[in-house]
Each structure stands twice: as structure tokens, then as C-alpha cells.
Homo-oligomer: 351 residues x 4
Amino acid sequence: MKALVYHGPGKKAWEEVPDPQIQLPTDVIVRVDTTTICGTDLHILKGDVPAVTEGRILGHEGVGTVTEIGPAVSTIEVGDRVLISCICSCGSCSYCHQGLYAHCLADEGASGIGWILGHLIDGTQAEMVRIPFADNSLYRLPEHVPDEAALLLSDIFPTGFEMGVQYGQVKPGVTVAVVGAGPVGLAVIATAGLYGAAQIVAIDLDENRLDLAKQVGATHCINSGTADWKQQVIALTDGYGVDVAVEAVGVPATFTMCTDLVRPGGHVANVGVHGTSVQLDLQNLWIQNITISMGLVNTTTLPMLLKLVAQGKLPATELVTHRFELDDITSAYETFGNAAETHALKVMMSR
Amino acid sequence: MKALVYHGPGKKAWEEVPDPQIQLPTDVIVRVDTTTICGTDLHILKGDVPAVTEGRILGHEGVGTVTEIGPAVSTIEVGDRVLISCICSCGSCSYCHQGLYAHCLADEGASGIGWILGHLIDGTQAEMVRIPFADNSLYRLPEHVPDEAALLLSDIFPTGFEMGVQYGQVKPGVTVAVVGAGPVGLAVIATAGLYGAAQIVAIDLDENRLDLAKQVGATHCINSGTADWKQQVIALTDGYGVDVAVEAVGVPATFTMCTDLVRPGGHVANVGVHGTSVQLDLQNLWIQNITISMGLVNTTTLPMLLKLVAQGKLPATELVTHRFELDDITSAYETFGNAAETHALKVMMSR
Amino acid sequence: MKALVYHGPGKKAWEEVPDPQIQLPTDVIVRVDTTTICGTDLHILKGDVPAVTEGRILGHEGVGTVTEIGPAVSTIEVGDRVLISCICSCGSCSYCHQGLYAHCLADEGASGIGWILGHLIDGTQAEMVRIPFADNSLYRLPEHVPDEAALLLSDIFPTGFEMGVQYGQVKPGVTVAVVGAGPVGLAVIATAGLYGAAQIVAIDLDENRLDLAKQVGATHCINSGTADWKQQVIALTDGYGVDVAVEAVGVPATFTMCTDLVRPGGHVANVGVHGTSVQLDLQNLWIQNITISMGLVNTTTLPMLLKLVAQGKLPATELVTHRFELDDITSAYETFGNAAETHALKVMMSR
Amino acid sequence: MKALVYHGPGKKAWEEVPDPQIQLPTDVIVRVDTTTICGTDLHILKGDVPAVTEGRILGHEGVGTVTEIGPAVSTIEVGDRVLISCICSCGSCSYCHQGLYAHCLADEGASGIGWILGHLIDGTQAEMVRIPFADNSLYRLPEHVPDEAALLLSDIFPTGFEMGVQYGQVKPGVTVAVVGAGPVGLAVIATAGLYGAAQIVAIDLDENRLDLAKQVGATHCINSGTADWKQQVIALTDGYGVDVAVEAVGVPATFTMCTDLVRPGGHVANVGVHGTSVQLDLQNLWIQNITISMGLVNTTTLPMLLKLVAQGKLPATELVTHRFELDDITSAYETFGNAAETHALKVMMSR
């Protein structure tokens, strides 16, 4: 088959590789119908994720069709159209039992799984992919849900909802500020209403993204390039700050924006992937009765979100800005890698 | 009356001052029967808390007898023996309605109250004290509960329980590590069993305090002066870290000990009062699915804890190491200020 | 002033009575600008609520303007436009501290308050009314929120949201069935989306009410007069039943409809006021892992709901079907009492 | 092998049957080392559970050693000493994902599993037993935990803790009344302290059981044969009733005792297995803000409880009153069936 293979920092190729094989009785082989590129894939290509070694097929998102199942698979059948979770998990270890699929302890060659696709094992940017622990890692798609609507449920929507909205303890009537209106920030914005947020404030430097934020659910948009952005946000509250501040960028400055915006008793939910440490002003914050949360998505809410997508209640497809043939994945990478100019949010590749 | 008056950094005196008067209809005047000194009082005396101005009577903990009530006080009567909460709160503002008494918005001369005793208004290290919003700030004591057993409920026990155990989300079966076995750390240790903690690990440099930790509920004591203290703690878990790590010191090093000890999915509860910022290693922590909490006690659990003290179910008096006459409060300050030698934890002054 | 006075079963009159007076320092006198009639008022008039004695002024809902305040009132001022909660509460007793305002222990002539207006003390169907514990029982209205939009927050909307949606543990993605589309049932339907309900199924015999249900948020409407109503509901689920079934009528048959509809692991939230016992089929239900909740509204969510109404996010005014002058309250009673013909839901009387 | 086979109402025999075989790749065969008899087994023998057909091997509790594993079993190995959960569950269906193992949807010959051992498939009162979905239904035992201490974790302790303590929402400081001090009631009493119950009141007619209740954690014991039993219980509270009332018998009278005892805002947790309907006095209860919960144990807390047993923190073995050879199981049935005279609580049979 053909696949997008990582060949060390800066190098990748869409090339012929051996077809994946069932290795464990809980495995499934999926023919990839639609996949996408994540910001993380760009980080890997820069060489920022040393655990990814040369020869690895990238990608951890996708929709496909089951072509082969291992003998211990009980809920998935050949021919099923399935959504691939970015997190593989056994469902039976002590972490899975707590809903911490991201920290699944099951042994898949290495110790512990979770996010392994396109990371520790071959991923979804290929014509076929092997999915371990398929009973707990794949989700059957209702017929009338198109690939395009389901695709963002592999990672982006569960990440925004679980790490932003749920960890942020959004509840009816609150004001939520989302710093960063990229794909994951937009997913936070699109799902904050599921817990009744009264005001959803999108904060970004890019007016294009702020426009999209409004379309998917933001009640207010504030450009953080303006001098008084903070006063604008605080003015939307009782003067004490927002109930929930969500960090969806991954740099120290935006993290500090969140701890600056949150009110006493509020929550800072970090969703961004960080590469450096940040300074936490405990001398001011210790007295504020706040929580700061962070983490990798578990995708435990994926079935629920899928139900809402099936009912047309989540704006999933709005985030797909560009479409490509799977064979043309290198063009897709170029478009996605140059988002400042192309305004790409999510690019979609289909066979 | 006589009172302990702050006269600027390093200066204090037990001296004659005017008796307190009812100022608002919700006020009560209490004759102080027993009071104590908090680590915060030492900080104030060093000049570290600029909001405390010269002439202020210190102290925010105490047990006493009501001598006069304002016309709007409905649940407290003259002659009642009462426990004074370190937090004064109106019970009616939007923050109080959320249980955030520490951030009460009621106006008491300044904007917002909460911790004001011995801070923004005169405190409890005196023969008498005025208590604002008495209906929500005083608690009637059952006859058979001695002052000594109730005294630590003004601040220490609610702080340990609310900020350590509840914010730390302790639940049945977990392993809790408490870094710092001073009065508040010991209060965490003594109350962690209320949510069924299976292992309670006290960590401190002082063997004397570790001994006391064992008496009040620690299942394991580890001296953080040993080279392998961290390995010792981790060995008590499944190898992945503790479920809850409680910071009860207030310096960057102990905060980082906590983020180092916590397992994926766990909680860091900061209880310590910090004077500087700390470095938060988000590059490692973002993926760990942890929460970090912090805050000033609300004392919302004070009535419940009082019930347990009344039943002899909390080791309240064990933390009182020294007793003085109220008139001898300057000796008490000397003993408490020199804890390294005197091994003082809580000193008690009674009339 | 003039007021609607109860004179024993079947008898009432809009007549001259003495003006209300401040009795306790925490009282406030409110000029009633707008009020309404509750189904409970009809029950009282039938003689079904013996605690209501002859001479009592009825009514527990209303919007008004403060004309006088007691000396201990701290958050309300003369001239304030206020919403009157149907529940009066002190905010300081052990029940209020738990958010159980409905069971407030404060002494207001009798032991315990909660719902006393138009019940144990004179109510809001009058030109003026005395409100006890005003700091915790009145809510200042933003200028731009009209009486009409606020009025249903006195009772109907908090009752639907707290007793139906919150007690029913509605959460994102669930299917909620609401049995009974009267005012309170409609309030459940209108607020179930605040916790992300995916399907909101209105069930009633009256097509008129089902139409209104659709307008305020029902995704499906099912007439319980059809033979297969139950199959229709179950067909909307995975076949195992609804996640949450809300009883909003108050008779045994509708309660049993709810226990029949709920799936394993689901919740039955009783909102209706019942006059007789019901048969609970524990022989079938014990194994179902369900909860059954019930209770009188606390109105703790009133400020949050008010915020949403102020933002135009709740369909509050849609339920007001008829408008009258306050002086014409007897006509209003006639219209409301004859709802089958008049299709009245909420009638509004304004000065 | 030998097994205890049900031969229709009133008939059973310890007789030779074929050894169990691996049927599905997720199965495991366990050699039974220790088992016990549950009250439910007696019900089955009376013919009260028609789903149990002639020829069925009874029993759903046990400790054993793994002798064979299916090809899809990943966490259990031959030779492992294991605890058998009374609930078999796949861990991957939508109900398992919610922690509702009792309502697992996996197909095991019939539709849906959960409690199937000794019910829909052959059980543990045998020399060997087949366990479906072993990865999620068996728990490896630490070496130093004897069979005797682990045995009650198959059913009794998780049932008491999950259905009584957790569903009852026990929390620090509350008063819990447990009606019925049989094995499950005693398990409630023994685990209520894990959420900090301040008062645990055992209520039973049998002084022998009340004595044992005291040993395992009851703070007060009240004989319900006394005329003023209810007043005795209420006197332990603020006069308004208990916070949590647990029904652990399974008849209408004891259920009504619980709704009579509970205070406004409290919880009734039904643990008993009921054979008839009960009358629920909604005309009094609707206004009480209570919840009533009920259900079959999920055993999701089994690993946590096992950890506590391993640390000697739960009084597991105290409930074992009689010990037999496995071969002598018919004597064990006699002793258990005649508990009034033998004072049997749990009888243990070991090979």
C-alpha cells in the first residue's frame, strides 16, 4: 500500500510500504477512507517528538472501513464503517477503568498505549492501518453521517470538549474565555454550550479565525492585538474575571493570559501542547481558589459527540477548509503547513 | 481592654485600647476566652502584609462568649459560647452563594471581606473583638466541647480539609502525600481519612513533626532530607505516583515536589501561602491529566468538622503544644516564633 | 391597599386590607408591579392546603419596587426593582448553607420558612407585600429586563430547572422525556438544553401544549393519548429507555409512566405536586440502577437563570398567554381556572 | 468435576458434571478454591427466579486459580490466583463505559450479561467454572490476601459500598441509618466510614446481628422491635431525620422505615432485593428534596476495596461465621438456610 512515511526531521514521503497485518487477536485492519493532518504532525516533522523514529507512518485521525478482524474482536465486523479514535486503549486496565484512556497501561510492544498511532506504531495517513484493541478504539458510524462530519471526532472535538469544557468545569450561566481560535479552540467554542455557557469569548490575533469562532458559537470575539483586550473581556463579567479560561495555543504568554483572566473560584483549562515551562505567579494566585487543569484527551465522550453530530447539533464540518485526494497528501501538508496564508484549519484527504 | 497591637514591622505591644463597639446591625461583640497565633501573624509582624496598618489588633482565630449583639443578628444570643471563623462573610452575595466565603463581596468599610480579622479590621488577640456578619461568621459551641478542642476549627482544620482534602479530590482508596507537616499539613493528614484515603504519606525534614503526623493519621512518614525520598514515596504506589499531592509549606521547592510526585490523572492541592512565583514544567505536565488547585479557606465545612470534634473523632487538641495566659501573649509569640527550638505547633492563650 | 384574600374553600375577594409593615429588621416592603397565579393557588382555593387559613392574601410570585427596608437589610435599597423568589430564606441556617432554601430553618413566627408567601404569611397578589429575609429572598432586576420576562423566574423556571433538569442529572447527549407540558413541564423543556440534552421529548394529551413545547425546545412531541406512545418514546433511544424521565403533572399514572420509560442507570425526576401515594414496582425496579428524586424548588439558580433571561437566552415570555390589570385579578383567576378552554398557561396581572 | 446442580424448586445435588470448556476467546477456566452461598441462591432454590433452569450450577462468588485461558485474554495468566466478580462484563459496550457493568450489553448466548454466573450460565459452586470476559471479570489477588478475606469482595462488599454508601451519597459528617444488619447491611456499615460518616446506626430485630454491627463499625445499634425505635434514631440527629437511610432487607415495611427516617435533602438507598411493590407516600415526600436510589452492584469499586482489604483496613473476614469443605456443600446450605438458629452470616466452602 501507499503511506506517508517519516524519514527524520524535515523529511517525509508518500511511498509504497508493506500492508499492515493483524498482530494481536484484538487487532483490526482498517482501509482508510478519509484522514487529516494535526498540528502535532508538523511538530513531529520538525523533529520535536523524538519518540517518533524514522520509517514511521504518521497520522492519528481517520474514518475507514474494516477489512479484517482479529479473533478476539467482538463488537466490530468486517465491512463496518468506523471512526478511529486518536487514543487506543484496552478498556480493562486500572487507568481505563477510571476513564483515563490516554494513560492506558496495556502492553502493545512497549509499556502503555494511549496515543500511539503515528507516534509509536504506524498511523492513519496511509491506505490501510492496523488498530490495536479495536473494540475500545473504533466506533461504528451511522450510515447517514458522512466522513467529513465524523473526521473531527477522532481528536479535535473530544479534545476541545474533554480538556476544555469538561476539565474547565463549564456549567450553566458561566462566561468562558477561549484563548486561541485554531481547530481545538474552535472545538471548545463549539461545545461549551453543551454545559450551558452563557458567554463564550473567543480571543485570537487572527480576524479570520475570530469570524469562524462566531459561526461555531462564540458570543463575543476579541482581538488580543488590541491594547485593551483584557479590559474588554473583564467588562463582560461582574468585573472579577471569567469563570473559565481555556488555553488553546501552547505557549507561556497565552497560559498567563488565562491565569490573568480567571476570577476567584474559577478554572483555567490548559488544552495547548507546551514545549517549555511557564512562570506561575503563586504569590498572587494561591489565594484565588482556582483550579488549573491539563491533559491529553481520553476520547471517552466520543460516542456522545458522535450522537450529536449524527443529529446535526455540532458544527463539525465548518472547520474543514481544504479537501484533497489521499494520493495528494503532500499538497495537503503544504497547505496546512502554511496556514497563515492559506487560512487552513483542517485539511481533509479522501480516497 | 487589652489587646496585641501591631506598630509596624517588628513591633507589637499588649496594651490598653478602647473596647470594640457594635458598628453595623449585623455585628456581635465577643469576649475572647481563648485565642492562638498563626504563621500569618509572624508574616505580618515582619511587614510582609502591607495591607495591615499600624495600630491594628492582630489575630483571626478564637473561642469566646457573646456580650452584645446588633439588632439584625438572628441566630446568636448574648451569653452564647462561640467559635470565631477566620473568615467573615455575609452569606447573601453571589460569592457566598457559591460557598466562596473567602471572596465575600459584602462591604465592611472596604470592598469585599473574607479574611479581615487581624488584617483589615481589629482581630482576636484581645480581650474583646467585634465580629461582622455574625450570623454567618460565628458558630455556637456545644457545652461539652472545650475551648482547646474547638480552637483549631477557626482556621487550621478547615484549611487543611477544604484546601487539601476536598480541593485535592481525595476519595476512598487513594494515596495522599502531604509535603510539610506543620499545623496545616497535620490538619490535612488528620482529615484525609474522612474521604477514605488508604495511604497518607507525611513528608517533612523534621522528625519531631513526622512523629506527630503518625499520631494524627499518617500511615507512612518519609524524611525529605534522605536522598531517595521520592523513590520511597513512589514505591508506595503502583509506580506511577500518588493520587493526591498536597503542598503545605509555601515555597517553590515543595510545590515542585508535588508536581513530581503526582500520577497521571491525579491532583496537586496547594495549601501553602506563597511569596514568589514558581516554575511550572508544562512541557512535561500538559499530558498528565492533572489538576492543580489553590485557595483561601472558606470555612464552609466548619459546622461539619465541629460535629466530628464534638464526637471525639478528630485529633484537634493534639496540635496544641504550649499554653499561656492571655496576658502573657508576648511569651507565647516568643515560643511560637522560635518553633525550631521549642517544637511549638500551636500555642494557646486563655483568659 | 387592595389584595386577593382567601376566605375559606371556594371563597376569595379582591378587597381593601391594611398595608403591610416592616416587622423584623431583615424585612422589606415591595410595591407589586406584576404578579401571576400558580396552580397551587387553585389547590388552596379548593381547600386542599389546610395550612392556609382564612384571611390570608394569596400569591408567591411577583416583580415589584422596594418602598421600605428594615434596618438590617444590606443589599437592597428603596427604589430597587426586584424579583420576588417564591422561597424566602435566611441564608445562614444549616439548611440554607446546603442550598436547601426550601427547608430554611429560620423562625418567622412559625418554625421554619421556605415557601411561606401566600401560604403562612400574606403573599404577592396584592398592591404591596412584606418580604422577610429580603437580602436572600429578593433579586435586583437589570433595567432592560421587562417584568414579563422576569416574572416566571419567581417559581416556574427555577422549579423546572432545579427539580427537573438538575435533580434529573441531565447531561450532554442524553434523551429527556417530560411527562406533562404545563408551565413547569415547559420550563423543564426550555432549560434541559443548559446541560446539553440531545433529545427532549414532550409528552402530553393536549396538542396545544405540545405545540408550545416545540417552540420552547422540545425536539419530539408525543401525544400520550395514542396507543403506542410508549413505543414511540423508546424508539427514540437505544431501545432501553430514556436517560431522564421528568414527572410534571402530579398524579400516580404519570409517575408510573416515568418509571416505565427510564432506562437502566437513568433518573426519574418528580416535579409534580402529589396528593396521593403511588405504587412503586420495586420488584422490577430494584435491579435497574435508577434514582428517583423529588422536592420543592430552592431558587438557588434564580440569579443564573436571570442572567440568561437578561441575555435573551431563555424563552421566558412565551409561557405568558393572558394579561390583566391587577385590579382585574378575579377575571384572571377565571381564565386560569378554566385552562382547558382558554388554553391559559400563565396569566399576568400588572398595575 | 463435581458441582452443586439445581434440579427445580426445592431440589439440588452435589454431583458429577462435565468439566467447563473455553467457549469464546475471552473466556478463562478457574479452579474454585473457595466459594460461598448468597441469599439469592436460597431464592433460586425456592423457585423464585424462573430464569434459572434445571441443570444449572449455582453460585456467583468465589476465589480460585486459573487453569486455562482463551486466546484473547490479555491480563490474566494460567496459575493466577483470582477473585471472581459476581458481575461479568465486557468493558467495551456503552453501559460498561458508563460503569454500569451490571447492565453490560455483551452477548453471551443471550442478550446482555452482568449477573449471569449461577443464573444464566453455570456458576461457582463447583470444582471449576468458566468465566466469560475474564479480563474485565476477574481480579488478580495479592499473595498475602487469604481466600477468606477476599471472598466477600465477589459481591457482598461491593454491593454494600456501591449501592448503599455511594448511591446513598454518604459524605463526611453525615448520619447513616442501615435498616437490616445481614451480610449486605453489615457491608454498608463497614464501608460507610470510607466517606466519613459521623454516625452509623444499625437497625435490626436480632441482637446478635446488632452486636456484629458494632464490631464492624456501627456507632449506634437500635432494635427495631422496641416501640420507640424511630424516636431513638431521630434523637441522634438535629430532629429532622438521618442524612442517608439504607434499606438492606427487601420488604415493603423496611423500605417505608427508610422514607420515614430520612431528613429533607437526604437520600434513601435501596440495597435489598424486592419481590413485591411498595407504597410510596408521594403526597408527603414530594416536598422533601430527597432521592431514592436502587440497583444491582457493578463491582467497579472491587479493585479499590481489594486494596483496602490487602491493607487490613476492612473487616472482611468478620462476616464469615462457618467454614466447610467444598465437598460438604450440602451441610453448608443447611447451616446457611437455617440462619435464625445457626446465626450464620456467610458460610465458606474451600477445597
